[in-house]
Symmetry: C2
Subunit: 468 residues, 2 copies
Amino acid sequence: MSSTTEQATGARTWSVAEHLDDILTAVQPLEPIELNLLDAQGCVLVEQVTVPVALPPFDNSSMDGYAVRAADTERASEASPAVLTVIGDVAAGSSGTELTVGPGRAARIMTGAPLPPGADAVVPVEWTDGGTGAGPARTMAPHSAAPQGSGGQVRVHRPVTPHAHVRARGGDVCAGDVALEAGTVLGPPQIALLSAIGRPAARVRPRPRVVVLSTGSELAQPGEELAAGQIYDSNSFALAAAAKDAGAIVYRVGAVTDDAETLRATIEDQLIRADLLVTTGGVSVGAYDVVKEALTSVAEEEPEEREGEAAEGEDAEQAVHRAHVDFRTLAMQPGKPQGFGTIGPDRTPILTLPGNPVSSYVSFELFVRPAIRAMMGLADLHRPVVRATLLPPHGAGDEEPAPLTSPEGKRQFLRGTYTGGERPEVRPVGGSGSHLIGALAHADALIVLPETVTKAAWGGEVEVVLLG
Amino acid sequence: MSSTTEQATGARTWSVAEHLDDILTAVQPLEPIELNLLDAQGCVLVEQVTVPVALPPFDNSSMDGYAVRAADTERASEASPAVLTVIGDVAAGSSGTELTVGPGRAARIMTGAPLPPGADAVVPVEWTDGGTGAGPARTMAPHSAAPQGSGGQVRVHRPVTPHAHVRARGGDVCAGDVALEAGTVLGPPQIALLSAIGRPAARVRPRPRVVVLSTGSELAQPGEELAAGQIYDSNSFALAAAAKDAGAIVYRVGAVTDDAETLRATIEDQLIRADLLVTTGGVSVGAYDVVKEALTSVAEEEPEEREGEAAEGEDAEQAVHRAHVDFRTLAMQPGKPQGFGTIGPDRTPILTLPGNPVSSYVSFELFVRPAIRAMMGLADLHRPVVRATLLPPHGAGDEEPAPLTSPEGKRQFLRGTYTGGERPEVRPVGGSGSHLIGALAHADALIVLPETVTKAAWGGEVEVVLLG
């Protein structure tokens, strides 16, 4: 009899930290793939990206104005302007070699346009008469409306020094520079840099494809009529949303009935598109705990020596039967029954969460979210954890309510509302029942009462996990 | 001549706050629509949702165990168990009316299953022999493997009180309760509650569809070969990514050349799928500033009295011509030239950002992101702003660098790296040049030097906008 079965019968209790460690040791970052920049958003770069060509790739103007020889403007003032002959326009996108600026000459130039040969500085249009012969200009007229602006004369009212208003080639990054290190998360500014150096795609770890599947013969889909004894499936919706928030690509599978063969068949179907499987329900000590039944009993049928081996010629059904899932009792509340293992020919990781809505959500936050982020290759796996003063629930009235209690040896996670600032505070919302979805929807934090704590006094300090 | 033209010629300088106020006054939250729960994730609920049926909808077991009459277990102990006759199983999903628990009887019951008539409490399986006749049970055998478990006798080792391990109908939420208030942002726990009360969809403000369009004849697409005078388009990628981060559905349009007719035609094409248009480039004082040219000159052609009127029989091209965009000079650096207005028959808001990559990104953060969030109906429009100690850049060496300077009367936004904690610190990264994309990609904060500050000493306190 395998150790799985021993654990299933409660031979050992796992701490939250042990279960999490086991998951994070087993779950591997996904193999990198090349993704288009906007598909790679939020993903982790696995290559060091170097700059292929300098940025800017050529000396160019930082202003709309006139490309000049600085020496020609040396004594310019509004009273006594330097008068230069305008030889044409250099627009952004022109090659910059059409015109050469000789002494006494100027080329009208636009921001980003290449500095033409001969010129060594740019005079902003606001420091000139804009070629109008009148006072200082504020703007250039559009070329389409006033083509004469690219000729004639311009009066320069202020001197410029060499290189003024010129962005030098390589002034941003040089060829061979490291643009981004491996491990960088690609947000908008990193995507800006990659596109600026001409990279249409990047080698990143992809978002994991997570299949979320709820189980339970009592589950109806929202919008349907409830029959006697039925409740609505909320876990598959909540966990699909949470997995998406965590960074995954999510496939929600509606509730599967408590029948082991149906569940196996569904998992078989889903394995093809799953980097990670998450189920809810059916993992406790009942006689109809389908997940445990479907994935444990089969493991027992397997000869030990086949464990972990890829058997040739195995069909899909057989593959699913090669499940290695440990069902465990955790020293936590809610979320005592948990399972973790691998399934199918690719040994796809599977986390089997308990079915009570609050239990499954808390379990997701503690175990699935870090697993998803580890698969993405992110360094930062966990929600922020802070300390806060524990205050009584809102609406508790004048009389101080009884202190919070927690069973000895269990790590308890209560729902709370958090207020940050200089003196952070947290208040419980709702009770500890793992079916209390109403309160969960008004919480933004989990209050943690560690294994050694059995009572938490109001006004004391507690650990708080900040959600969302 | 319209006020547009006066502003275009620089008649007035707008503060950052004035420009933002103008945008947020004009931009309206989108009309609500009914979206399936998972499509509504991250959106703002516009209806108050009440609970149609109590949760749980019926009294049910919170444990796997035995439904009993509490009185029958009153004197039970391990030494002297109460022996009850098991009359059958109540699985989750059964209607709960098949069995009636009489005196001296018990029904095996699973978590979530309805409490059968006659029973008033549940004994957890761990407090019994599980019907085995042996010691305390840890679990039930699966019904499929051991059908005899639903019959025979069970020994109860501990007494239970009435209602023990029973979740009462309505114990979570009652019919008529407010489940969620209008204005709630739908995250995973709120989606959990909506699905739990049977709602397949919710009435929310949808994510705005944002068309991002860069302009510039100098722009090549990443992956292409750069010709002389060309640079890669990075703005359309960066802003598309930033708009998605802000919550929008984004359509990126590659670079449009500096030709007013081409730009007008492109905008015409895009208007159909845009709740908001964002352009970059072509809004400064140059002779080829295509956005300004395309959207200003046309406005001038319009007789004043047509302003804002929906003209019947107008074709798409005419519609685009009905642009009302104010081009403005802002007292900020980077990001001085900005435009905001409406365009087309639906008066679609349009923000025209400057073209320098850092300018466009900073402008997006300051103006477009809040506009997108306002269209979503979110209350929290802005990035977190904190105060931090200003330290010299990393790698500045032993000698203290010159203090940061900022032009008087301008609000300057410098890129920085932020370290939080008890004594938050920020360091500038890269220079103030609005073309420095390399530095931007290593920044996670904007250092704000207000209009009145011309010099910021190292060790002083500054305002910091935290990005992403």
